[in-house]
């Protein structure tokens, strides 16, 4: 594996420590190519937003970052996603997808708690990492639920089913579940699209609080949301990365007219 940090066009936009580098990543659903030569840096302990019109490949890109596509036969990656400081190419077939997922957590568009008590949901990621000592698990569960701003609402019903929670609470539970094992990176695919404005606001607050300590990549359709919580924004169109820059730049002085058109709502 190449140890040197690759020099790619996106490097022009690096202005801090980088957690991962996506380099010429292409992705195929069987025969159908869904990502074309995507390159951009993922800054350490900053939030990066992926925006773009429906079907442009945001979810596909996000799910490549934790090898979710490996679950279904026929999918194929080309190119590299170098994770630092380990300097491993996490989309290489030689790298065990299970190990990648132990490093990188994910929150899905639709809340998907397990059919188990609230406590067990949050503890699941610890269990799978071999952390089973009760005092440690208790502490991590509480901390994760507090981080996800859910602790006060559930602390008296930790042993009850997660399905008794509202949609917004379930989504925050899923965030707590992803946070409990302290992932190196957190991927979120439109985490608030199924929620009402109040629950959305809570989750956005939470993202803002997490950003200084966790590396975040978030897909969103909501321009205000991208502007509020992210430091960097990547604009995609039909499987290509059109523009990557600081969020403030993307939203004030984008270089590409397509980006401009999209964020001002002229297409997409």
């Amino acid at each position: 594996m190449d140890a040197s940090i690759p020099t790619k066009p996106a490097d022009a936009h690096i202005d801090g420590p980088v957690r991962a580098h996506v380099v010429n990543l292409s992705f195929y659903y069987g025969e159908k190519q869904a990502l074309f030569d995507v390159s951009f840096p993922i800054h350490d302990r900053k939030a990066t937003a992926l925006i773009g019109p429906s079907g442009c490949g945001k979810s596909t890109l996000l799910r490549a970052l934790n090898r979710m596509h490996d679950l279904y036969p026929g999918n194929r990656y080309e190119g590299e996603v170098i994770l630092y400081p380990e300097q491993i190419n996490i989309v290489s077939p030689e790298v065990d997808p299970m190990l990648v997922r132990l490093k990188i957590g994910m929150v899905f568009q639709k809340p998907n708690p397990f059919p188990k008590p609230i406590y067990d949901n949050v503890a699941a990621g610890l269990w799978v990492r071999g952390i089973r000592k009760k005092s440690i698990v208790d502490e991590r569960v509480e901390q994760a639920l507090k981080q996800a701003a859910l602790w006060d609402e559930v602390k008296d019903r930790l042993r009850t089913s997660a399905y008794g929670l509202s949609g917004g609470q379930q989504q925050r539970l899923c965030i707590a579940r992803a946070l409990a094992p302290d992932p190196e990176m957190l991927l979120l695919d439109e985490p608030t699209s199924a929620l009402d404005p109040i629950a959305t606001a809570r989750i956005e607050e939470l993202m803002a609080e997490l950003a200084p300590s966790v590396t975040i990549v978030i897909v969103t359709h909501n321009m205000q949301q991208a502007a509020r919580i992210s430091s960097y924004t990547a604009f995609m169109h039909i499987g290509c990365m059109v523009e990557f820059d600081k969020t403030t730049t993307i939203f004030t002085t984008p270089k590409e007219s397509r980006t401009q058109d999209y964020i001002t709502g002229r297409f997409g």
Binding site: L71, R101, P115, V128
Partner: protein, 318 residues
């Protein structure tokens, strides 16, 4: 829809907008709906009536039986000799035979069925599944009498070579064969339940770093809990009611079955045996067919109630 509601349609016509073809269309639609509703109700009512009829006959004849034999003797006596000079009616004998073969059958079918269902729903590729499932369905289509002779003439001699004190008629081999017979039912229901668990749950588990095996055991099975339990209980009901295998290969001697290596009669085997004889239709021995049947019915009922209760308690909502 009642006619009163229908007549209201014309007054509210405007509210339906212009895209309703005609009032006659709405009326026809309501009539078709009603006719189908009535047909469905009749079908449902028929199945309830048939069940009620069976229970009625069982109860009626059993009451005649219990006029002559005390319930206490029936439940506590340790012998079952209805056609003897001095008849004894201890149902525990037959119940123990039935429980023994059922338990052996479940001991085979529950682990094998669970593993096979997990394999089919979580690990097997599409092609493999398309090969294994029809084979299992074929297994379910084999006549039970064939399974009976398979147990008696093929499996028992093989088992006797390494279990020397295994009787020619025994409970072990029929129990195992019952396990093989109920396997397709368990797999079919359990696998359906597992596949009904949405992929979003699996993805959630994989995203945390679960392996396929961990996902199956920790997420899919809990998610499919009620369906998997239903599968076991369906298998159990079939094992309890299985007749030909035990009638052929377990022997017909009614006694308390403690040793699976020896033969003993089950409830079903007894019913076959006595029905094939030519007992006078109002004799006490003849009535035992119905009490035995009632006992079988009650056992199955209890299992189904447990299944019902479990499903209610652990109903999954995704």
């Amino acid at each position: 829809m009642t006619t009163a509601e229908l007549s209201g349609v014309s007054e509210r016509r405007a509210n339906y907008g212009r895209l309703v073809a005609s009032e006659a269309f709405l009326r026809r639609r309501a009539i078709t709906g009603n006719v189908i509703g009535v047909l469905l109700f009749l079908a449902a009512a028929l199945s309830v009536l048939i069940t009620a009829g069976i229970v009625f006959v069982l109860l009626q004849e059993s009451i005649l039986f219990f006029r002559q034999v005390s319930i206490l003797d029936f439940l506590t006596d340790t012998e079952w000799t209805p056609v003897f000079e001095n008849p004894r009616f201890g149902i525990i004998t037959l119940v123990s035979g039935t429980l023994m073969t059922t338990l052996i059958g479940l001991a085979v079918a529950v682990p094998a069925g669970t593993i096979l269902s997990i394999y089919l729903s979580e690990f097997a590729r599409h092609r493999t599944r398309e090969i294994i499932k029809p084979i299992l369905e074929l297994l379910a289509g084999v006549p039970t009498v064939a399974f009976g002779y398979f147990a008696l003439f093929f499996l028992t001699p093989i088992f006797q070579t390494f279990i020397p004190n295994l009787s020619g008629f025994n409970l072990l081999v029929p129990g195992i064969v019952i396990g093989i017979m109920i396997l397709p039912y368990i797999v079919s229901v359990a696998e359906d339940a597992m596949r009904a668990v949405p992929d979003s749950l699996r993805e959630g588990a994989f995203a945390l770093g679960f392996t396929r095996y961990q996902t199956a055991v920790r997420v899919v099975i809990p998610g499919a809990f009620s369906g998997v339990t239903a599968a076991y209980l369906l298998g159990m009901s079939r094992a309890v009611g299985e007749t030909m295998v035990v009638a052929i290969a377990a022997g017909q001697q009614a006694k308390i079955a403690l040793n699976p290596l020896e033969g003993a009669a089950t409830i079903t085997a007894y019913i076959v045996q006595i029905s094939l004889g030519d007992l006078p239709h109002n004799s006490l021995a003849y009535l035992t067919i119905f009490v035995a049947g009632l006992t079988l019915f009650l056992m199955t009922l209890v299992f189904n109630l447990i299944a019902f209760w479990l499903r209610k308690k652990y109903r999954e909502i995704y």
